[in-house]
Symmetry: D2
Subunit: 155 residues, 4 copies
């Protein structure tokens, strides 16, 4: 296969995102994706299985960590792809992007995860030729900042 | 209700643990619980919905974060309960333990999450009268250390 | 002593900042301070003792961590002071602010610490009645983002 | 130069450690170094310039971060050196070890930094062919655990 257009790349990313089993389990869906700005966002709705504290009806911290890790990782993938540039052929780029993995992540839980609907967005702090550092935020449907995170990815 | 015996407290913790909706979703079960040592462990089996990278058949980072956060939090709950001691009555202790929440967490992903079965264990680094810091580890069934984490909890 | 005006409070913060021995050692000076926005910044010049890698003439990671921790902590102090509000008297506020301490911090080293002069700025992610979470950034004199951090403070 | 013996390597590490300007400023000295176990420790004495809170006479958080970052980094260097093995020649190993840098670090401040004398020790959580993850601890002269940290290094 030859290098895809940026529209084709977007469609590929969307396809990979939607096939991750645990992402489907949580119900996270790719929402917006700005190739040039290297930002990406995903959204999900509250459902009973995602609750961590049913006395207070708030999301489990692990659901929030899942959203941040996933969005941070896909944002990193877009940035790593652009960083690899024209010198590396498409097959090798795909190989490297498939191996992209989270090295470490910090999550800050700023407010209880209350709401019907959540949006998680990612942006890039650093792209090197081996590592990407992403920053992530999770907001609820009242635009309250529920959680932030920073994660390092290796590709 | 009056102060439970340590055996009753263990049964209560077990009951609360098993009723957390997202913990059930992941399939995490309380395994061992040492009241005096303030350590606790939980286990879960791999199942298709927990996979993050199906090319490599490894756990999603969010599943690992969920296990670490849950085990760290319940270990913190046991430590906070002991720390409150005899001066605070049982009703108030319950109120405070119900509000215990994760402030922040770091997760290190040391090896790909391969395996059939995983054990996550927690221990205590600090117990104050407001904060608890827990350290967590996740091993697979070949006793490989897959992930470690540190988290701060407020109660 | 009675509650200071916001101008007097600024002078007090400046005085405390400048008297911290290790802050003097590094040469960190309070630069800007916006009481309403709860932001604060400090600056320092490169000097030979601050170098970590003399083959590359870059700042030691510990110097960067010192700047982030200090700026994050003073930003948290301003936010905690405002949060305590009118219900708590000045003496008690001072007692609590003196005890404010860092619980944990994450630092990301994004680029090598090259430059003649550095500015570190802090802002607030969360202010509760016990905890404050600050975010910090360090830029060099070419406006490059050298490092970011997130820290949790207890007061 | 040809590959050094492990005794010569130890002497080299000691020499590099002692020449880092900010490490000298803090007064950190290499204490023990176990090549086979990939552990390393350093020590320093309290002195007035290292104080962060002179009301309570405790170390500045930045001093603790400096000790953890330095010890974690040198422990990582030893592990990276061993990991590179016989296939890479000495000149190239030196080049790579000189570029070893901290990617990110988490520090937990567990107890106030009181004491006359401190020991900081490091061990390895992961060594890959690009990344090393170290865990660090700081104890005072009463053997109290003052601080722990985890850091990721790239080489």
């Amino acid at each position: 296969m030859t290098e895809p257009s940026s529209e084709e790349f977007r469609t590929l990313v969307q396809g990979v995102f939607e096939q991750v089993p645990f992402v489907r389990e949580v119900g996270l869906k790719l929402h917006a994706f700005d190739f040039a700005a290297q930002t990406l966002s995903a959204e999900f709705a509250r459902k009973p299985e995602l609750i961590g504290n049913h006395f207070h009806n708030i999301l489990h911290g692990g659901v929030i960590a899942t959203a941040l890790d996933t969005v941070g990782g896909f944002t990193a993938m877009v940035a790593a792809y652009q960083r690899m540039g024209g010198a590396i052929d498409w097959e090798e780029k795909v190989q490297r992007l498939m191996r992209l993995g989270t090295v470490d992540m910090r999550v800050d839980y700023l407010k209880p995860g209350r709401g019907e609907h959540f949006v998680c967005s990612g942006s890039i702090l650093r792209v090197g030729n081996k590592l990407v550092v992403s920053r992530m935020e999770l907001h609820n449907d009242r635009e309250e900042l529920i959680s932030t995170g920073t994660a390092t990815f290796l590709y």
